[in-house]
């Protein structure tokens, strides 16, 4: 069983071990970390956290657009660790998760993967 280390920078850099095959949300909650969540299938964004180093597999997520992915967000209820990772958790990490769509419209390449344009800027 492959295990990786998760460091939570906005919780005094506390470290946890997680199973690479299980969702990070479940792994952390089972060890007593108080995390927000909602749908538990990767669609609702409530459990979003910011990945500041390392890699995750979150191909099951359908909530994030490319702008949010570029800002480092991961959906913990479906994401699995692929290496040791560092996270900021909770709504404190959501500073670049939400934007007013009338003030800052998305460019076509920043949309969700299924409708984003392929060309780069």
């Amino acid at each position: 069983m492959t295990k990786y280390k998760v460091t939570i920078t906005n919780r005094d850099n506390v470290e946890y071990e997680v199973d690479a095959k299980r969702p990070i949300l479940d792994e952390l909650r089972n060890q007593g970390v108080d995390l927000p969540y909602g749908c538990k299938y990767g669609g609702c964004i409530t459990c979003a956290a910011k990945l500041t180093s390392g890699d995750v597999d979150q191909k099951r997520q359908v909530a994030l657009n490319n702008w949010q992915l570029d800002n480092g967000y991961v959906i913990l209820c479906v994401a699995r660790a692929k290496s040791d990772i560092t996270l900021e958790i909770g709504t404190e990490s959501h500073d670049k998760l939400y934007r007013n769509p009338f003030l800052e419209p998305l460019k076509s390449y920043q949309l969700k993967a299924d409708i984003a344009s392929k060309e780069d800027i």
């Binding site: 749908c39 299938y41 669609g43 359908v62 657009n65 709504t91 009338f102």
Partner: protein, 451 residues
């Protein structure tokens, strides 16, 4: 002649209008998405001006888990089973949009202190009916149907879950979704064998937040659907186009003989009216068109965002909100083809017209509302949906939502904010929460349907 019966609700809309005044109301309040790790809850609000706790939350019923995002609610029974003495309006059903759980709350044993009666787990609904993203609850005689906006994976169009009166899952209500692309709200008018349903978006689209560009990519709805209610299948759809972007709340006249109904197209900020003509054909037209407004600092004109509409029990007035502009409006719809604006008040909003009401800074804009049965008191709340609040009104995290009450004149028209009523959910014991839909124990203007 008044028919005396012992089932729930009232024999007719007129009897409902003459019912005793509401003394309590229930509203849901959320912590989902706020950063406070507490369950969402059902708040009991004292609305009796003679009570020492008037204009206060007097009870809070917490849900068993966090992350539900309570939203709309519905009764187990309404005037549609007025003739059935075995039924009573005892249970309020509180769906969690994100968790998929359905909470059944007993409000009758002690109306001031509702208690949790049963939870139908979201996982059971997914496995038995392949549905998620519950929204509107209507009773249907002794049964209950609930619109769900997605399948178990959060993909549109979802469908309708049917429960029996003991809150067991019967299964899917509809026999077919036809070519429907999205679900949201619905209302039925049994004497005309019709149900009308509207379109928001797939849960996977609207739950993470709103992107204007996704409307252009057809990720949001723009159609209304007319159903053969007995056959449980859609038979006709109206493509509303640019006039009907994101058609949300659906209301028929309360008069069970009427074919007139209305839908608020949220993003176009229009009211769509439909009716059956003398040839028996359904017709539609746009009757209200709220212009976009320029915000001094923004590049794109701001739509009102009409997220809710309500028809008074006497079918004379239609109320609507402009969540981003910040105003509530009252229209006389005595002639439903030609509505007349008769009242308007501002509370919050992005245009800065009423940043403070009754001494409290309002975060958000008018969003959900419930009218008293007699048409004189409109209770208004300010939060739309946690992620959408966070995009448009980020200050609501610290300030919470509010509930206000508008005094309405059902004789001559007109609205004004009641200066004595203000519930500031920013001061809740566990921190700022956001209140949303409200309902009265005796039935209300957004639930009761007559057979």
């Amino acid at each position: 002649m008044n028919k005396v019966c012992c089932g729930p609700g009232y024999a007719s809309p007129i009897e409902a209008i003459n019912a005793p005044r509401e003394k309590l109301l229930y509203t849901i309040a959320i912590y989902t998405g706020t950063g406070i790790q507490k369950p969402d809850y059902l708040a009991t609000v004292d609305v009796d001006p003679d009570s020492p706790t008037y204009s206060q939350v007097i009870h809070r019923l917490e849900m068993p888990g966090i992350g539900d995002e309570l939203h709309h609610m519905g009764w187990n029974a309404c005037s549609s089973c007025h003739d059935d003495s075995s039924m009573s309006r005892k249970y309020l059903i509180l769906p969690g949009v994100r968790s998929n759980n359905l909470h059944i709350v007993d409000t009758a044993t002690d109306p001031k202190s509702p208690r949790l009666y049963k939870v139908i787990e979201g996982a059971e609904i997914k496995s038995k009916a392949d549905l998620s993203g519950p929204h509107t609850v209507h009773c249907l005689g002794s049964k209950i149907i609930i619109s769900f906006l997605g399948n178990a994976k959060g993909e549109a169009p979802g469908g309708y879950l049917q429960l029996d009166k003991e809150f067991n899952i019967i299964g899917r209500w509809e026999h077919s979704m036809g070519g429907i692309k999205f679900g949201y709200d619905f209302w039925y008018q049994p004497r005309h064998n019709v149900m009308v349903s509207s379109e928001w978006a797939a849960p996977n689209t609207f739950m993470p937040g709103f992107d204007l560009e996704e409307v252009g990519h057809l990720k949001y709805g723009r159609e209304l659907h007319f159903w053969d209610f007995e056959k449980r299948e859609p038979v006709e759809s109206f493509y509303l186009g640019e006039d009907g972007l994101v058609p949300l709340e659906v209301k028929f006249h309360h008069n069970p003989d009427s074919t007139h109904g209305f839908c608020g197209a949220a993003l176009s900020t229009n009211v769509i009216h439909w009716w059956k003509n003398s040839d028996g054909k359904w017709q539609w037209e746009k009757i209200i068109d709220i212009e976009n407004e320029m915000h001094p600092e923004w590049p794109i004109p701001l739509p009102g965002v009409m997220s809710a509409i309500l028809v008074s029990m006497d079918d004379k007035y239609l109320y609507l909100n402009n969540w981003l502009h910040g105003d509530m409006r009252q229209y006389d719809i005595s002639d439903p083809h030609n509505p007349v604006l008769t009242g308007q008040v501002y509370m919050g909003g992005l245009l800065g017209k009423a940043p403070e009401v009754n001494g409290v800074e309002v975060a958000g804009g008018p969003q959900m509302f419930q009218l008293s049965l007699d048409g004189k008191r409109l209770y208004v709340t300010t939060s739309l949906f946690s992620t959408w609040d966070n995009q448009f009104y980020p200050e609501i995290r610290e300030k919470g939502g509010v509930m206000l009450q508008i005094d309405c004149d059902p004789e001559n028209g007109g609205m004004k904010v009641n200066p004595n009523f203000m519930i500031n959910f920013g001061k809740e014991p566990n921190g700022p929460s956001r209140c949303h839909e409200a309902r009265y124990p005796g039935g209300d203007c957004t639930s009761d349907i007559w057979l």
